[in-house]
Amino acid sequence: MKYVDEFRQPEKAEALFKAIDNLAAPLSDKLARAVHIMEFCGGHTHAIFRFGLEQRLSKSVELIHGPGCPVCVLPMGRVDDCVALAERPEVIFTTFGDAMRVPGSQKSLLQAKADGADIRMVYSPLDALNLAKKNPDREVIFFALGFETTMPSTALTVLQAAEGNISNFSLFCNHITTVPILESLLDSPTFNIDGFVVPGHVSMVVGEKPFATIAERYKKPMVITGFEPLDILQSLHMLLVQLQSGKPCLENQYARVVQKAGNIPGLMAMQKVFELREKFDWRGLGEIDKSGVKITEEYAAFDAERKFAVPNLKVDDPHECQCGEVLKGEIKPWQCKVFGAPCTPQNPLGALMVSSEGACAAYYSFGNTKELLDKRQEARPTK
């Protein structure tokens, strides 16, 4: 597969692994701890585990898995809202596959579907719009989830709906933005990340500027990164070179896809259809200012939250859940009290175990659980 296989060549990776170790070892000695690199985006987390990259890195580099997983940070209350909408008899509720298994306070969307709600998986928001055109007597709601990567497609779909005067289509908007959560992490005094693998597809949409500003303000190395294993390894190398030189800045490793200005048609559509919310609730992380978007007044007819009543309740995580600490990189998944027992992919307590890119699910499948449970015993953080 072109533009995929070239960036998955294992022979080229060997040189990178060595180069990374050579750079990281002296840096680690100086820090008296491993160099901490955070990959923010769930897609990167997934790639790291899929290709088993973390194991090949020496102890001088530690990868911290950040909260850039829109499924993982979806609050239970919002899942309950989805279920409430889906259970309305006139509604066809459409969603990406990722969200189907996230537990709400009573049930997940998958369970609601088994109970009879008309919930359908779609690959694209345009498919949801087509459903609305084909079923004029039903209300089609699309669960709009994701960071800026997915916002243009949702916005363009709304614009198409408006152009076509489709009155039975609306969005339940849960889009969230990248920069506020990054800043919130960087503002925290206990946050000790040395560099960032920056989400390549978010940058594809928003361009380099938002992340360049952060690199400048916080003096942190940041590299916009592609999603193939060689992309990620090259990015780690670039971050370490920056750390070595003491000149942090933003670099673009994914230049074959990411342009400096981002995607202009996409950004224009987003500007028409979305505006920032004052605050938005992130599971395990609390409310973060200006971190979510809602639909503008002009397109209010396509806002499911205005069209329908939803419970809109804030539901706390089970008290045993330590999802928030894992999301912030404060503890490793196996250090969570309930990791592996009782929280498993078969019986998830929190979203990090449900989503295929959640750090906990990734660790659960990457390592022998008993071993990780044993590690938990040794490495339990002191409170």
Binding site: F51, F96, G97, D98, M121, Y123, Q346, S356, S365, F366
Partner: protein
């Protein structure tokens, strides 16, 4: 009802005389025992119901699946499959044309496998009581004396062999879903595998485990072997045979081909010395992408792992629930 049976079922399947006018098929024991080499063989007996949707998919249909599936379930136990029953539960209003096609497909698949469908039943239920068509097939076969294949028989040092590319059936089903709007020439690999397995048994007496990798894919079968045999199994990612289009579908939808169903692929665990002969037997039968994909290793507790193309090792666990396409 009688017309239905006579026109579609008996008309298609009464190749031989198995007392078609009685309530049961009658088979001379000698017809079964003649397939045993010495005394002491076993009768293999299996049943399965097919409730799939869609009924027609690229490369097959529910009828072909119902015959091939049961033939294969017998064959992976080392049995020569001999006789099948076939039972249809039909929702009222089901298109007779489709029924005709499906039954013809069953007939053709049985002929391909060299088995006889000797008895059957049809029931029509009212609309809503069944989802279009359900098929049950049961089958009997003869496991010759000396053939001992079992999920618990894997030994450390054995090789894992598959007769071709992984995930094709599952990928073709997903791709044929109207709502995903994918255009592909992907076909299911659905077929009877008894002739292949017979030639493997001739090639080697050291086939320890054998199963067709249907629901849950190769990953699920390997987990079953590891669990039953109390061993570890290590796969090698760079050894897995996969078609370009299957790969394309998986990359687009974020699916893992190791968990996608196969209906024409068997996973065999064989003694290392026999691997060459087994591979030859597979290739002679036309399976030119047959490959060794892993090995059995010692492990403290049963597990399946895979060495990735980057040299890392990851667990290949049993999935909870079906794989769902993802965009993240």
């Amino acid at each position: 009802m009688k017309d239905l049976i006579e026109e579609y079922l008996v008309g298609q399947f009464a190749g031989k005389s198995f007392a078609p006018l009685e309530d049961q098929a009658r088979i001379d024991l000698s017809e079964i025992i003649k397939h045993d080499n010495m005394q002491g063989g076993k009768l293999a007996f299996t049943t399965d119901s097919y409730v799939i949707f869609p009924l027609f998919f690229p490369g097959g249909d529910i009828g072909r699946l119902a015959v091939a599936g049961t033939v294969n379930d017998l064959s992976v136990g080392g049995a020569k499959p001999l006789y099948l029953s076939c039972s249809l539960i039909i929702e009222e209003g089901f298109a007779l044309d489709d029924l005709r096609k499906i039954v013809a497909s069953m007939h053709e698949t049985a002929r391909e496998a060299g088995v006889a469908i000797v008895t059957g039943d049809t029931k029509v239920v009212e609309k809503g009581a069944a989802d279009k068509l359900f098929i049950n097939t049961a089958g009997i076969g003869l496991i010759p004396f000396g053939v001992e294949i079992s999920a618990g028989a894997a030994k450390v040092g054995d090789y894992i062999i598959i007769n071709g590319t992984i995930g094709d059936h599952g990928a073709s089903i997903v791709a044929s879903r109207q709502d995903l709007a994918l255009e592909t020439s992907m076909q299911s690999d659905c077929r009877p595998l008894n002739h292949l397995i017979q030639s493997m048994l001739v090639a080697s007496s050291e086939i320890h485990c054998l199963r067709d990798a249907t629901r849950g894919g190769v990953a699920t079968v390997l987990n079953e072997f590891a669990e039953a045999s109390r061993v570890g199994i290590r796969l090698y990612e760079n050894a897995l045979p996969i078609q370009d289009e299957t790969r394309g579908i998986c990359e687009i939808l974020g699916l893992d081909p190791l968990y996608l169903a196969n209906e024409g692929k068997i996973v065999a665990v064989v003694a290392a010395e026999s691997a060459g002969a087994i591979l030859d037997a597979m290739k002679q039968q036309g399976f030119d992408q047959a490959a060794i994909i892993g090995e059995v290793i010692a492990a403290e507790s049963p597990q399946v792992t895979m060495k990735t193309i980057f040299g890392g090792e990851k667990m290949i666990d049993l999935l909870t629930g079906d794989q769902l396409p993802r965009i993240c």
